[in-house]
């Protein structure tokens, strides 16, 4: 039986259980007219039975689906002839893959011999058996649960409280997913990064000046030892981020000031949504624009004044990234400026200062913590931005501070290392996770500080 059919069947059983449970509770007290003799509303007895039917069976189903593939593989492998059992893990994996492909009727990479065919048949047989056992067990669990709940129904049963407790646990589980996600990110990145640092010393990674992450197929190949010094990536990331900030911070800040202080209501009502559109454009679109429109333009402009500009210059990527970040900076600055009490502004204006003086000498100093927090968030966003740099920045790791040269960034390298075929124990693939760890730690640090500063600052004037 397919698991979808099984789930549908369980859903049907739970629905039926609801009506049976409700009917049972009412008939115990002598019909619909006597509902007040029950502890809870009749519906809650229905839900109570339904929960008993559905949840144990679904839990079993989930567990089964997780354990089943590995169990079947182990069984099939243990049934293989002696000769196959001494294979190296990689070869064994390949063999298992072939058996699975043969079993599902896909293309197989080796000649099919009798052992393989037998193993594939065995595989299919185990899979069919497993599905049968699962169906019987799940339906059995559902029936058993239903029977237990059915017997427990009694006018004094606190059915509402029990149902509400289950709901409460579901809500807690849902809100804990955020924590599991963070833990998952940290663990998945950390484990692979630790494996990487076993192959490449962490000092070389953090302080090495040479990045060329190829691994040799044979030991005697030229350049067989890839070098994993990530400093050029860090400087490249910083260069692009700095260019983006040079664009985004003044423009975003001045936009916020102009819209808050000078513009008419009509201008504000049109300009603000337009800037929000800027924030809603997908980054891949910015990347396309950077690579196909801005980069050639920067190159031409540079050449017309006699500068040599790489076609994948850091400048083009940084400029476009800066434009992408303008709305973020301007909206966070806007919040910070608006949080400054009007009394301070009115006081400054009343003493005869012009509006620009009020702004630069009174409001901005007061709003500075909020603005700085916003800028930190913007920097974190720029560091983690991927598509623009993947499409518009280069791949070669240059250690340079010249914005007209091509540089590469941490995110670009993660993408190039992980896109395409990969094996999971080469330093090349694991390097991506080490870079991911760096990225996560740095952005987390910036986010925590930025969010805290912004929040503290808001509370200060509340």
């Amino acid at each position: 039986m397919q698991s979808t059919t099984l789930i549908l069947l369980l859903g049907f059983m739970a629905t039926a259980a609801f009506y049976f449970g409700r009917g049972r509770s009412l008939s115990l007290v002598g019909g619909p007219g006597h509902g007040t003799a029950l502890h809870s509303l009749p519906g809650y007895y229905g839900y109570y039975v339904a929960i008993w039917v559905a949840i144990p069976a679904l839990a079993l189903l989930l567990l089964w689906v997780m354990v089943e593939p590995k169990l079947i593989v182990t069984l099939v492998v243990s049934g293989l002839p002696e000769a196959y059992r001494d294979l190296s893990p990689g070869e064994l994996n390949l063999l298992i893959n072939n058996i699975q492909n043969l079993a599902s009727g896909d293309v197989v990479s080796v000649a099919v011999d009798e052992t393989l065919q037998a193993a594939a048949n065995q595989f299919n047989q185990y899979a069919a058996q497993s599905r049968q056992i699962l169906a019987v067990l799940a339906l059995g669990f559902a029936g058993l649960g239903g029977a237990i709940a059915w017997r427990r129904i009694h006018p004094d049963l606190r059915a509402r409280n029990r149902v509400e407790r289950v709901i409460r646990w579901f809500l807690i589980a849902a809100s804990s997913i955020a924590i599991f996600t963070t833990v998952g990110i940290v663990l998945s990145v950390l484990f692979e990064a630790i494996r990487f640092f076993q192959k490449v010393p962490i000092t070389e990674f953090l302080f090495g000046l040479n990045w060329s992450p190829q691994m040799a197929i044979r030991a005697d190949q030229v350049g067989s030892s890839g070098s994993f010094g990530a400093v050029p990536l860090f400087t490249g990331t910083l260069l692009v981020t700095a260019i983006a900030m040079v664009v985004a911070v003044p423009v975003g800040l001045m936009t916020a000031i102009y819209l808050a202080e000078y513009s008419s209501a009509r201008v504000r009502a049109t300009a603000k949504p337009l800037l929000e559109v800027l924030a809603g454009i997908p980054t891949v679109v910015y990347g396309f624009f950077a690579a196909l429109t801005v980069a050639p333009w920067v190159r031409q402009a540079g050449e017309s004044v006699g500068l040599e500009v790489a076609s994948e210059s850091a400048l083009a990527a940084g400029l476009v990234m800066g434009i992408m970040i303008i709305p973020l900076v301007s909206s966070l600055s806007d919040d910070a400026i608006n949080a400054v009490p009007t009394a301070m502004r009115d006081g400054a204006l009343g003493l005869g200062s012009t509006r620009s003086e009020t702004m630069t000498k009174v409001i901005l100093p007061a709003a500075l913590p909020g603005i700085v927090g916003g800028i930190l968030l913007a920097v974190s966003r720029a560091i983690g931005e991927t598509m623009i740099v993947v499409m518009a920045a280069g791949l070669a790791a240059n250690l340079t501070a010249n914005p007209f040269e091509a540089v590469t960034t941490v995110t670009v390298q993660i993408v190039t290392l992980l896109v395409g075929d990969q094996e999971f124990d080469s330093a090349k693939t694991l390097a991506a996770f080490a870079l991911g760890l760096m990225l996560f730690v740095v952005t987390l640090f910036l986010n925590v500080i930025g969010l805290n500063v912004v929040r503290k600052y808001r509370e200060q004037y509340d």
């Binding site: 849902a174 963070t182 990110i185 800027l278 891949v284 679109v285 196909l292 005869g352 974190s380």
Partner: protein, 427 residues
């Protein structure tokens, strides 16, 4: 009045006024300039996009009189679709249309005027109507992408022959075809009905759109209930303790974690550990769920906060339990705000590409995916792939795909705005 250097304070202030007014004007001007930067960029961006992409919605077609020769398609009276030389039929029709071509090299150049899609079209036609075998059909078949670019004016015919992908002879033949009324530009249906292809004139976005659709279905089915449940717990039930604080800090941080890190998580957990299939919309949807959850939770919490406490108190006063208060009263009132937040989260998920690169969705996939486990790409990834292709015709299609993507995003945001406007309640 204090005096210094023979000036009153008033005089001093007045002396400074012109300078201060100039500064004020400058400041205002700089502010205006900054505001226009964003708006001007938006204008330039959309105008180049439309100028570049609008031509991709049209496609050049060629009228050919194709002889469906029986000995080619059905040798021995039996239909042989797999091995029949449909290309040959198209070629002979082309030779017929321009009879003056002779010599192998010239002929080969001539054949390049028509797309390989012409043969597929022919095969589909014969498959659908076997009775047509032996007749002569007048058909509009797609021209090759170079002819298409020439007709649309994207290839400069004045350029030196070696600098353009189409030769002088080919241009002359296209001219002959045009004079015969055999060339026409029509609406580019293939863009919306085909999957990806190596040939620009046959490449379409249907596969990518379906991939995105399957992913969004997974995302919304998971992230909406989970996000709403988490928001309800945090706003209505959570005790003020360290665990709740931890959850809260986590959610705020996750909202700002770079999306590519979620891709790494997906690769390590869903693909390596749980061995789910690569390139599948299911895995993409799971990753996007984790990515959009913080957005939905934050929006849902704001919506719950906006429900006035008097409603809760009234229900509690009438004897409802806390759970009943939440599910019978607070949730229905907060739902419009939650839905708005969900739509915004979905529009972010639709435009996201970096995490999908990590889980193998960046592959050349011709078939339109038919389920959650089929290999697929997404619309933003298709844009990324096409943007990397060197052919001029793909640049045009990239812009068209971007226009479609932005159209979807616009629709979603419009829906969110309308929902907010119509359902919003003032208390």
């Amino acid at each position: 009045m204090a005096k210094s250097k023979g000036q009153t304070t008033r005089e001093k202030v007045e002396a400074g006024l012109p300078r201060r007014r100039r500064k004020e004007l400058m400041f205002k001007f700089v502010g205006m300039l900054a505001t226009t930067v964003g708006v001007v960029f938006l204008g330039v961006f959309f105008s180049t996009l439309i100028a570049e992409g609008s031509s991709a919605f049209k496609q050049t077609f060629m009228k050919l009189d194709i002889e469906l020769a029986e000995d080619v398609i059905a040798p021995g009276g039996e239909l042989d679709l797999a091995y029949a030389d449909f290309d040959g039929l198209v070629r002979s029709a082309l030779r017929e249309a321009i009879p003056e071509v002779s010599g192998r090299r010239d002929r080969r150049e001539l054949y390049r005027l028509v797309s390989v899609g012409a043969a597929y079209q022919l095969r589909d036609l014969v498959e659908a109507n076997p009775e047509l075998v032996g007749t002569k059909q007048t058909m509009w078949v797609p021209a090759s992408s170079n002819v298409d670019m020439l007709i649309k004016g994207n290839i400069d015919a004045e350029l030196d022959e070696s600098l353009r992908p189409i030769s002088d002879k080919q241009i002359a033949w296209v001219g002959t075809l045009q004079d015969d009324g055999r060339i026409e530009t029509r609406f580019n249906k293939a863009l919306f009905t085909n999957g990806d292809s190596r040939d620009p004139e046959l490449a379409g976005i249907k596969g990518a759109v379906m991939g995105s659709l399957y992913m969004l279905i997974v995302t919304i089915a998971l992230s909406f209930p989970i996000g709403v449940a988490a928001a309800i717990y945090l706003e209505e039930f959570a005790p003020r303790n360290r665990w709740s604080d931890l959850i809260e800090v986590n959610i705020n941080n996750l909202a700002a974690v770079p999306s590519i890190v979620f891709g790494l998580l997906g690769l390590a957990v869903f693909i390596n550990w749980a061995s789910l299939p690569r390139s599948a919309p299911l895995v993409g949807g799971l990753v996007l769920t984790l990515l959009t959850l913080p957005v939905i939770i934050i929006a849902s919490r704001a919506a719950i906060k906006a429900v006035p406490p008097s409603i809760r108190e009234a229900a509690l006063g009438l004897g409802a339990s806390q759970t009943q208060v939440v599910f019978h009263h607070v949730l229905p009132l907060a739902l419009p705000g939650m839905l708005t937040g969900t739509i915004i989260g979905m529009s972010r998920a639709l435009g996201e590409s970096a995490p999908l690169l990590m889980i193998g969705m960046v592959a050349f996939i011709v078939d339109v995916p038919g389920g959650f486990n089929d290999p697929a790409t997404a619309l933003p990834i298709q844009i990324y792939l096409w943007a990397d292709s060197p052919e001029r015709a793909f640049a045009e299609r990239t812009s068209a795909a971007i226009i479609v993507l932005l159209g979807f995003l616009l629709l979603m945001n419009l829906a969110a705005v309308i929902l907010r406007k119509r359902m919003e309640r003032k208390w």
